[in-house]
Amino acid sequence: MTSRSSQRMNPPAPRQWSSVEELFDDPAFQAWIDAEYPAAAEFAPTARRQFLKLMGASFALAGLTGCEKSPFVAALPYVNQPERDAIGEPRSYATAVLLDGYAQPVIATTYSGRPTKLDGNPEHPVTRGRSDAFMQAAVLGLYDPDRAQGPARHGEPVTWKDVGAAISLLRTTWGSDQGDGLRMLLGPTSSPTLLRQLDALRSQFPKMRIHLDAPAGTTARAALTTAAYGQALDLHYVLDACDVVVSFDDDVLGPGPDQVRNARGWAASRRRAADRPGIALYAVESVPSATGAVAGERLIADASRMARLAEAFASALDIAGAEAWDLTSTEQGWIESAAKACRAALERTLVTSSACGDPATAVWVARINDALKGAGHTLKATRPVMGPADAGTLAELAHDMRAGKVRSLIILDCNPAYAAPGVLGFADALKQVSSRLHIGLQRDETGELCEWQLALAHSLESWSDARAVDSTASILQPTITPFYDVRNVHQFMAMLLGEIDPAPDAAVRATWQSAFGNDFGARWRAALHDGFIEGAAPFVDATPSTTTNMPASNTSEGLDVVFRLDPTVWDGRFANIGWLQELPKPLTTLTWGNVVSVSPAFAKRMGISNGDHVEVEIDERKVVGPAWIMPGQADNTIALYLGYGRRRVGRVGDGLGYNAYSVQPADHPWIAKGRLRKVGGNETLAVTQLHHRMEGFDLVREVSADQPALPQPKPQESFYPSWPSSKNAWGMVIDLDSCIGCNACVAACTAENNVPVVGKDQVTVGREMHWLRIARYYSGEAETPRSFFQPVPCMHCEQAPCEMGCPVHATTHSPEGVNQMVYNRCIGTRTCSSYCPYKVRRFNFYDYRAAPEAPEQAAQNPDVTVRSRGVMEKCTYCTQRIEAAHAAADKENRALRDGEVVTACQAACPTKAIVFGDINDPDSEVSRLRRDGRHYALLEDLGTRPRTTYLARWRDNGGGQG
């Protein structure tokens, strides 16, 4: 076989097809189909087409057989490339997936040309190998069976040739008036190639306008920094340089493009000292978040009160012009305590405010950071990477459409018919546009309204580029040949620019050709190999203007209604990804839906209980959703979660939850004033944890600086003899102080271990299949609770109750101390689960496997058995990874090294809270942590001797409310 690099140099003539029909006309393919699927040969041609459409994954495989010959092989393997392909041997590629236009740099593991698993790129300065739930689940988005599978016009399939012809016709009309009636709408993008192409398009049609649709708040962020600093900036938190962090309604550690970087920094600081928490976090928030959950001192305040609190805090730090007035004693106490900590830490302090908050808060926070000298040290600024810079807003576009100024609208990978604030009436306005063209992953709510409905390639099958949150650029290379009839975004842009049948990688190469100059070949290869291009944007000096007038806050009557992006389906774009729908949302453990979150006291006043339907009214627009009583939420604040209520996303995500965009105001989209009333009706919410209090059990333990060690347990007697241990004895330690409940581990486990998605009904009756759950507990009063996260995988007990329960030896003890599950021996008595004190076992009550023809099958890890109906399953400590490491070590005739086996959850964890290794090796990290004073075993008294153990959480000395 030719090596990949030589193919890259001289791409052979591709065996490529431009449309499904063309492929079917290929006699070789037809012969193959007839041989593989004799039934298909008997169909009439039109019926056969339908049949092939349904074949899903088989079709995907058909695409893959052509893989070696397609130009996509120019993709460069990340790891040492094998001399020849071996079936079943994984290959890794460095590339990136996108979140809000930012690159999330990943290493994609592929088997036989199919990506099955994504992990953070270990070299990349943002991820350092860590990931978040969105990154983990992106691979399932690739295999989404409801993706747009080819271009269409008014729902009728067409070819890309037809599309090309239509575009060239349109170009003539645009050219006639310099693009006066032409508008383009897209999400914020950091792609240098796309920005270059957009500029090129604008130079061809100078009167065209570009508008940005940023449902996730990218434009709001720019507006805030403009208010605070007089210019749009990207702010970077350097949490690992902080001793004190004060956040004003800012979910610093919460989901989003920044999560991995912030979580890594937070955890590094937190672990800085051995005898106390290395960083103190003071959080004031209106709606509970991960940040508030781990904060040492958490203050609860309504969303509209943040500006006043920020000003009071500034006043406590003696900042000119700031006044403190009308504070409660709790607020006063929190501010004094936080100010004292800030004064002590000075430039090792960071004060943050929400990117979706009040401008006044942002202004005060900028001044505080400036005064504390944290700016430039703990807070850095760069020029924004998101573009295009001078784009119009969605509201302007809607206005122009209504005014009849828009004749052609090109919608690129965004979904305003769903995600535009309801007040804009975007879908209606869209009908005023005569030619409407949509290209996206799905033929979604917007695509449905467009004349041309084009299918976009997923980022894992595209050539593209993008910048990460730190502005480091990555080149996205395809990890798989597109198996639907799709074009990537740059091909589409090239078509708009007048090119005919552009190559998938031409535009990206052209961009970097100019950047790399003469050294293009080597630097291009290095960029593909490394997954990023060294060199982030330089930091700029950001001094807040002290003279600007303070922006006015909305002081009208009513409840504070805040809008939050959903922690699992985000702005709604991931709604059809089953892994994410079934991921329990942090703090609520809700799956498959969104809620109207209210405070316990408010709920009591209104007589609301969980699941009761409530109507939220903002500026006379109303939406009805189920209520959720959120302990620790501010009394006068209600939170609506975006991302649900989709109608046209696919069979997974359609018809779940309510659409909060419908009541979102256009001018201040993140906080509004509104009313709430209870309406009739109630629904059962699919939550995975029904009970929240620890009930006096010491499940999550705490230590404090006064008492930094837990009492050492007494040695336990056992009737059973200990198992003889082989050379390695696996164990896991989970640091509860670092866990931010972000779900990356759960998503990674799902992806790695082929954990099935069971759906809302099954979750509702308590049959979710996650091998690893993040238990969430509250202590204290419901109004002012403290929150705890505790990831609970299998404990791999040395004296496992499950093992003695099984009548057929289906769960056994390995010589390395792993409690094994032998799926094909299991007859499903469920005794093991009944006896399990930790209830970590999961049972296939039905056949939960994806249908054999489903494209999702391609995402499955070939190293992990797929479990049938009636079989118990559970965490295996990623036994396939242990065995692979053994095989690698055995080949080199050496012992396993510490850190050589990394479980999927451990690899994903952005805070490195999960450590796995050999407890027989006294020098391994896991052994070291097991000797830590904070080390304890869950339910130690039962004598099960778990191999998975915990490090107690630090209790900050302040203690916070409650």
Binding site: Q762, R773, G805, P807, T829, S833, P837, K839, F845
Partner: protein, 451 residues
Amino acid sequence: MTDRSGDVLPTDQSIGGVSDQLTGIPLHFPAERRWLIAMLFASLLLLMFVISVIALFTRGVGIWGINIPVNWAFAIHNYVWWLGIGHAGTLISALLLLTQSEWRNSLNRFAETMTLFAVVCAGIYPVLHLGRPWYLYWMFPYPATMGVWPQFRSPLEWDIWAVLTYLTVSLAFWYTGLIPDLAAARDRATTRIWQIFFGITSLGWRGSAAHWLRWSQAYRLTAGLAVPLVVSVHSEVSLLFAAGQIPGWHSTIFPPYFVLGAAFSGFAVVSIIAISLRSWFGLNNLVTDEHLDLLGVVLLATGLMTAYGYIFEIFDTLYSSEPHELQTLSDRLTGAYAWTYWGAIFFNFIPLQALWWRSARRTGWSLMLISIFVALGMWLERYLILVTSLYRDFLVSSWSSFTPTFWDWSTYFGTIGLFLVPFLIAIRVIPLISIFETKELLHEEQETKHG
């Protein structure tokens, strides 16, 4: 439960008359219409059972309401309940035979029959309950090519042996006891089919002294085997729970507690059947008020012993002060399923107190009502042991709940059909009260009178 003075049977009846009366039931069935109605009802239940099992096997145990953590519920719960009912038959027949309490002689046949079919109902549940029932045979130690054996440490493995042994011995005991009566029926049969049927099944019994001697030895030996089995089987069933560490299960009181509870529920069902048959077939001369009185006394005694188990379960929990056990106790008394606990307490022990009065014991309807309450109460007790222990075990984050589905109920009511249909067939084709033993008792009583 020793010999009682006084007569159980009225002595003013002839021995031949008893034979005619009892063999006449299968040969000239007296209550054809009522039997058919009962049979129709039972068959409908059986049909429901068959449909439920088909649904179960095609779709999986997900059709039930079980989940994680309550992954054992109706299947195991009804298994224990049915098995408990079965035990009374053995106790009445075998234990009272060994203690020579001859008042049993009117009750033992149908009590044994009841045992047999109750054990079948119980025994089918562990099969239905499996995730992959087609691999049931893996629980048996056959020489598999892979060299894998069942795991003998598992209470489930003990269970399968316990139940199979019990079923075998019960069957042998029942059949041995039946032989002389089958011969009597053979001798009175007038149609060819019945003659052949009883001829074969009576195994050539001629009633010679040697036959009686051997028979008596075999019968008593089997009885001697059966009695300890009652204790061992239900003790073993209790270990299904007690071997796990789950609060509410992990208790040393479980084996005797379960055995007594089983006897209690079993005697209740024996009373229900005795009273029904007696009124159905007009057997007041053979199943007398004296019998009901005795059953009532036994029911009261076993009921009080079960109550002792309840009290000591609570005492143990309080004495140990183990927080998780206390939590489970409080869940039982006040939690979401407190109705099962208080229901069990009420149905098992409150109406039972009426049995302190002789008139309540000797009145058919009152004993019947109390027995139905006890059967219901014991059903609730099994429910509470399963569900209230599992739904909230150690880690709060796994706490959940259990709601039975239609299929849970249909399978359960279906097994009542599975019990009734063969039972009704049995009373149609075999002498439902032991003829020779009744005659023997009658004879002895008459002898005493004359003597």
